[in-house]
Amino acid sequence: MTLLLTILAAVALFDSAVAAVPEPSCVVPQSFLSSDTELTRALNEVKARQRLDISVVGTGSSALPGPDGARYAYPAQLEKALQKDLPGITVKVTVHVQPRATAADLAAGMAKVLADDKPALVIWQTGTADAMNSVEPEGFHTSLDDGVGAVEGGNADVILMNMQYSPHTESMMDVSGYADIMRFVAQQHNALLFDRLGIMRSWSDDGTFDLYSATKNYDMARRVHECIGRALASQIISASHLDAVRMQTTR
């Protein structure tokens, strides 16, 4: 009976992975996280070696400023959330942040990341620097193709993560065009897209976060990153069917 309750609780927790935890509450509409795309390599690694190595490749918005920035940024939050949701499985998230790097810069470094980390999954956050520098859309497209191709060739799954929703700078740079290209490349490669832009916009719309506010305080930035880390964990678990694996390991 206790086992059954535990399983039910675990299922409930998974179903509303983000919403169930009281602080901070940031519900992500299921449409942002569900997808037909499967993270098969991640699943295989978990099954075969009981571990999951993830590399995060990105720019400034994959980190937080300040002395404890790395500890509170979404990659660390993702690691924490996965460790919690996947007991018995070693989760390691390695972060490669290159401030101001365009997709072309990051794609060029992808082979080294794959060789060094040997990840089963690469989370590639990009697009912001390209939008800021008005990189030619076609060039951006090619760089994404190259980078995603490199990850696939390195026998890892890839999740593309688009830009942050940043209302104050929205009138200064055109992020949506680049986000569209990212969605398209993800579709072409049958890769997952983590729609950070859409998710953060929905948080702004439903009042979860006041992304318009000016503050020097780190609290909100940390909470946003925590929510992103957990939403990402829930997307990974769902797309790699790790919920089933988790059931087996907890039983």
Binding site: S31, S134, H141, Q164, P167, E170, Y212, T215
Partner: protein
């Protein structure tokens, strides 16, 4: 292709449809320039490949040829060219005025807005640290903030217009062929103008000139030549089919599950639909919309005289002023939305108030022109470029 004989002189009476659709396009451009706005779901860019920019550039080409074509016929190449270049200068001044307002907004945001979450994004404001470079690059039209790309395109199109207009008056078919050839060469050889800090112009003048020249060609008698084609039921059927196809494709961008119904070969061939170089799919979409519009809204359509459409017509008659005002209002609206965390009700209010200000201003300009005796209805002998009825 039309024979190379000189085109007949166009009808003298103004085609109010141009003003109407340009006015609606100006509203669309205003709404689309407020990124966070529920109302911009109403604009055509969400329901097909082309958007308000195509309408604006086509009609601008049409009216430029309408006004300056007559000037060139009656007063010669030199006078017409001088007036075209004066118009380009006016647009340049308007663009720099808008840039100043943009800089003021950016400087304010940079000074007041701070949030560690956006440490990366705020670096977009770094150009403020180098005002010497930035302002110079803006003056030579290399640095163009987001949403300020249309006027520089217009300036370049007008600068190149005098010889093109001469050719359009003498050898219209050759002019149109030359324009199409430049478009094709642009696609083959990636011609474009450089931008600052890097990249190229968002609206490639070498590609977009096709739409402008096509508009001019239509104004100088091409439309009459096309009348037969436009009245054919087959053309109408093809146009409607293509518009429905574009509508279905755009729906797959918003409703993700629908994307699986687009076969890979089609998306490989179709994407990306390039706005910078006026993708042929966008151009075709505009042509289809134009064909359907001309079919259902004839020149003498009584609705054009109705008071309901008058606000849009007025805006279309003063396009440069209303365009600039729209860009300014979009800045201001976006600014209010970000300062006060505006939800959908505020966005709707800002959109409505913005359009009302545009309409009021257009009426005010018309009034000025009436008291100065330059009204489109007062029969002035030579049309003025600023004339409401013939503004290029």
């Amino acid at each position: 292709m039309a024979p190379s004989a000189p085109l007949p002189a166009p009808a003298v009476e103004r085609d109010l449809r141009l003003d109407l659709f340009r006015g609606v396009a100006l509203w669309g451009i205003f709404l689309d320039h407020i990124p966070e706005n529920v109302v911009n779901w109403l604009t055509i860019r969400n329901y097909g490949f082309s958007d308000a920019t195509e309408i604006f550039i086509f009609i601008s080409g049409y009216t430029a040829a309408f006004v300056y074509g007559r000037a060139m016929r009656e007063r010669g190449f030199l006078v017409a060219s001088a007036r075209i270049l004066r118009r380009a200068w006016q647009i340049y001044v308007a663009h720099i005025f808008l840039f100043t307002i943009f800089m003021a907004e950016i400087a304010y945001v940079a000074a007041t807005f701070d949030n560690p979450l956006y440490a990366e994004e705020m670096k977009i404001l770094d150009f403020l640290k180098q005002p010497d470079v930035t302002i110079f690059e803006a003056l030579i039209l290399k640095f163009k903030p987001v949403n300020m790309d249309v006027l520089p395109l217009y300036i370049v199109l007008l600068l190149l217009f005098p010889p093109m207009l001469l050719l359009l008056l003498r050898q219209p078919a050759l002019a149109l062929t030359g324009s199409a050839l430049l478009y094709v060469l642009t696609w083959s050889f990636d011609f474009n103008l450089p931008a600052y800090p890097n990249g190229v112009w968002f609206f490639n003048p070498f590609a977009w000139q096709l739409l402008f020249v096509f508009g001019a060609w239509c104004a100088l008698g091409g439309a009459q030549r096309l009348a037969m084609v436009l009245h054919s039921r087959i053309v109408l059927a093809v146009a409607v089919t293509y518009i429905l196809f574009a509508f279905a494709i755009t729906m797959t961008w918003y409703v993700e599950p629908l994307a699986r119904f687009v076969p890979n070969w089609l998306s490989d061939w179709m994407y990306p639909i390039d706005k910078t170089n006026l993708d042929v799919l966008r151009f075709a979409h505009f042509l289809a919309l134009a064909a359907v519009t001309v079919h259902f809204v004839p020149r003498d359509w009584p609705g054009l005289k109705s008071p309901i459409l008058l606000p849009a017509i007025r805006c279309g008659q003063h396009s440069l002023e209303i365009f600039c005002l729209g860009v300014f209002l979009a800045f201001a609206g976006q600014f209010i939305i970000s300062e006060y965390s505006g939800g959908p009700p505020i966005q709707v209010a800002i959109s409505l108030i913005g359009i009302m200000i545009m309409v009021a201003t257009a009426n005010l300009i018309s009034w000025y022109k009436v008291i100065e005796g330059r009204s489109p209805t007062s029969r002035v002998k030579t049309p003025d470029a600023d004339l409401a009825g013939g503004e290029a």
